[in-house]
């Protein structure tokens, strides 16, 4: 009975999304690395993303926030075509990397993923040695000319990921033997080793304790100098700490996007305000 009262009228997702109106804020930036224009994503008949326009600027951290199931991870996975592995997933609209259409016939997903690296929610090192984990990408793409070159890439990547000092004595030991936070930084090192242009992070700290999280956030801040980063997070504090721009998603719709400071201090959309103040469940 109570349930009936909470939902006085049956509304389809499409109707709710339509009622949300247009995206509030500045979806475009001056020097975009990646752009999304009118992106719709369908899982079979079900639409998961509704007409998203969004830019990821060069040397910028964009955080994507929103309640569970709002499509932020789905959009993130479109950016390096990881959704290709799901047969029922269909993407329409335009996504570009440096002005090139990602989903165009010319674009090779393998090449794209070498340029747009990804760090996943759960640390997923290969069950191989730490060295092999980092060396895998460069070896795959033939980025090193010889062994010394490869050693150099591995050490540099581990250094950049801020984990080198902790593992330098045990590079031949399995990466799966590290702690959760170390594993995640190893995964970041593995991604950096391919020298991508954009790094996508899907809730990289959700399985980590606050200390490991702080280390990763520090790392993200340093990485911004050389890479563009898009990060999906459930922690508003994290979004506020690491990102320059923030995008708020709701039910597959980009509700509001803008400077992180503006979003958190002066949100313009009611839903955004409800969410970041914790009034929204």
């Amino acid at each position: 009975m109570n349930l009936d009262q909470e939902q006085p009228q049956e509304q389809t997702i499409e109707e709710i999304v339509a009622s949300l109106g247009d995206t509030v804020g500045e979806a475009r930036v001056d020097n975009p690395k990646m752009t999304c224009t009118g992106v719709d994503v369908f899982y079979a008949d079900k639409q998961a993303i509704f007409g998203v326009d969004l830019d990821i600027g060069a040397n910028e951290v964009l955080s994507m926030i929103g309640p569970s199931g709002c499509g932020k991870s789905t959009l993130l996975r479109c950016l390096n075509r990881m959704n290709d592995t799901i047969p029922i997933c269909k993407v329409t609209g335009q996504l570009t990397l440096d002005g090139e259409d990602i989903y165009g016939k010319q674009t090779d997903p393998v090449l794209l993923r070498a340029r747009v690296g990804m760090v996943f929610q759960k640390p997923n090192p290969f069950p191989k040695s730490i060295y092999e984990n980092v060396a895998y990408g460069p070896r795959l793409h033939g980025l090193s000319r010889n062994k010394a070159d490869l050693d150099d890439i591995v050490v540099t990547s581990l250094r950049k990921a801020g984990i080198y000092n902790e593992v330098k004595d045990r590079l031949d030991q399995p990466g799966t033997g590290l702690s959760g936070g170390q594993q995640q930084r190893l995964c970041i090192a593995r991604t950096i080793a391919c020298s991508p242009e954009v790094i996508l992070m899907d809730e990289p700290c959700s399985a980590l304790d606050p200390i490991a999280t702080a280390k990763i956030e520090e790392l993200i801040d340093e990485l911004r100098e050389n890479y563009s980063i898009a990060i999906v997070t459930h922690s508003m504090q994290q979004a506020a700490r690491v990102s320059q721009r923030t995008a708020y998603f709701h039910l597959g719709k980009l509700v509001e996007v803008g400077d992180t400071d503006t979003i958190f201090t002066n949100p313009r959309h009611e839903l955004t305000e409800n969410y970041i103040t914790g009034r929204f469940g």
Partner: protein, 441 residues
């Protein structure tokens, strides 16, 4: 509870609480009892299966153990050219055709000069195995200069003497009811007291192919036949099955066709093996005209049989590789094939090997389909190639179990022991490989 004057609502609450804890306590007891009972059943099941296994191994060992010894008799054979039917300076082809059995018979008669009657002579000749002449032939060809001299040789005894020496013949039975007669016992006992009878390890069993004489029959032919057949099976079924499993699991689209293929593979695993034998007969022998009784055809038929088993278990192993590993490799820019070869296959390998060893063990013990393609023939020669006529261990066991001679009873059990040893060896290799591929998470 010990409060002297509890308020009404508090009493109610504490009563309810006590009730809950009592109910839980009672049910906990029941739950533990159930658990104990369940564990007991498990233990009984394990003990039962262990005792069955022990029974099997003990009976087979007791029955098969005598087959590993063989009795030899020392004879002084006079190699005169007349008895052997040789000219002066005979060549090898003449030596091959010489009458060695005559020479052996003559020396037996010399050892026991009292034997005069035809019937007794026949009984005397039976002391030495018919295979003895071939042993003698080999020795003479190796040293032809001995012709004309007397040679002291140890020759294998006949089946009945073998049984008697192993204590299998019941001497207390009236003479008419046993094959080994009193006069034969007398001869053997006299030879024994002269130290001219010896029991040795039965090398013949491991060095020869099949024979109609139990004392000359060996397992080597069947063992080599089995090895060749299994090599063909493994070489064909492992790569095909793994490739099929990888394609179906990693690359094939999910649609009605792949569903149909999946159902068919699952059904093929349940098809009686003799049907595969008929298929092999119709296709490989009658249509492709491959040789009959050959390990090649046997291996082909057994591959058909083991394929579904390996495919099903390989698919399960591939499915169990965590998707996060695939994501990680794909996210680094590996192509689909690279993901499979670099990561998924090595991680699935232990499971694939387990399936393979189950399939190969099935193939090792299979008789019915091989009967259909002629691997049941009586084949004396040890096969050296996959197109040579051959038989396999289970078929050999089946054949020996059917023969009336006493000696074949122990040979049957001994062959079973060899089959089991082969199986254990195969499993050991698989366990070793599985350990090597296993990765800690």
């Amino acid at each position: 509870m010990s409060n002297s004057e509890p308020t009404g609502s508090a009493t109610e609450r504490s009563t309810a609480m006590r009730n809950t804890s009592e109910i839980v306590k009672a049910s906990v007891k029941k739950r533990y009892a159930r658990e104990t009972r369940f564990r007991l059943f498990g233990l009984i099941a394990i003990l039962a299966s262990l005792s069955f296994l022990a029974m099997l191994i003990i009976t087979i060992s007791i029955k098969g153990y005598p087959a590993f010894t063989q009795t030899f008799m020392q004879l002084e054979v006079i190699l005169d050219a007349d008895t052997l039917g040789l000219d002066e300076n005979p060549d090898v082809s003449q030596l091959l055709k010489a009458n060695y059995s005559g020479a052996i018979k003559k020396s037996l008669l010399q050892t026991f000069p009292d034997v005069k009657k035809r019937k007794d002579k026949k009984a005397l000749y039976k002391l030495i195995s018919k295979g003895g002449q071939y042993d003698l032939q080999k020795k003479v060809i190796a040293a032809p200069e001995l012709i004309g001299q007397t040679m002291t040789v140890w020759l294998p005894v006949g089946d009945d003497v073998n049984s008697y020496m192993k204590g299998i013949v019941d001497v207390n039975l009236p003479e008419k009811k046993r094959r080994f007669k009193d006069n034969q016992i007398g001869w053997i006992e006299s030879l024994k007291s002269d130290n001219r009878i010896s029991q040795r390890f039965n090398r013949t069993f491991f060095e020869r192919g099949d024979s109609r004489e139990p004392e000359m029959a060996g397992i080597k032919g069947a063992l080599f036949g089995t090895m060749l057949t299994l090599v063909v099976t493994l070489v064909l079924s492992f790569p095909i099955a793994v490739a099929a499993a990888v394609y179906l699991e990693e690359f094939a689209p999910r649609n009605r066709w792949t569903d149909l293929i999946e159902v068919n593979i699952n059904n093929l695993a349940a098809v009686p093996s003799i049907v595969f034998g008929l298929l092999g007969l119709a296709v490989f022998i009658n249509f492709f005209h491959l040789p009959r009784s050959a390990p090649l055809v046997g291996g082909l038929v057994l591959s058909l049989m083991t394929l579904p088993t390996i495919i099903i278990s390989s698919r399960a192993a591939l499915k169990s590789v965590p998707p996060s590993i695939r994501d990680a490799a794909l996210g680094l820019g590996a192509s689909k094939l690279q993901v499979v070869i670099h990561h998924v296959l090595p991680l699935a390998m232990p499971g694939i090997l387990t399936g393979t060893i189950i399939g190969m063990a099935q193939a090792l013990g299979e008789t019915a389909p091989l009967l259909m393609i002629g691997m049941v023939a009586f084949i004396v020669d040890v096969p050296t190639a996959v197109t040579d006529p051959a038989t396999v261990l289970p078929v050999q066991i089946f054949q020996w179990a059917d023969l009336p001679e006493k000696g074949f009873v122990e040979k049957t059990s001994a062959a079973i022991m060899v089959l089991l040893a082969f199986l254990i060896l195969m499993n050991a290799v698989a366990v070793y490989l599985r350990r090597k591929f296993e990765r800690k998470w």
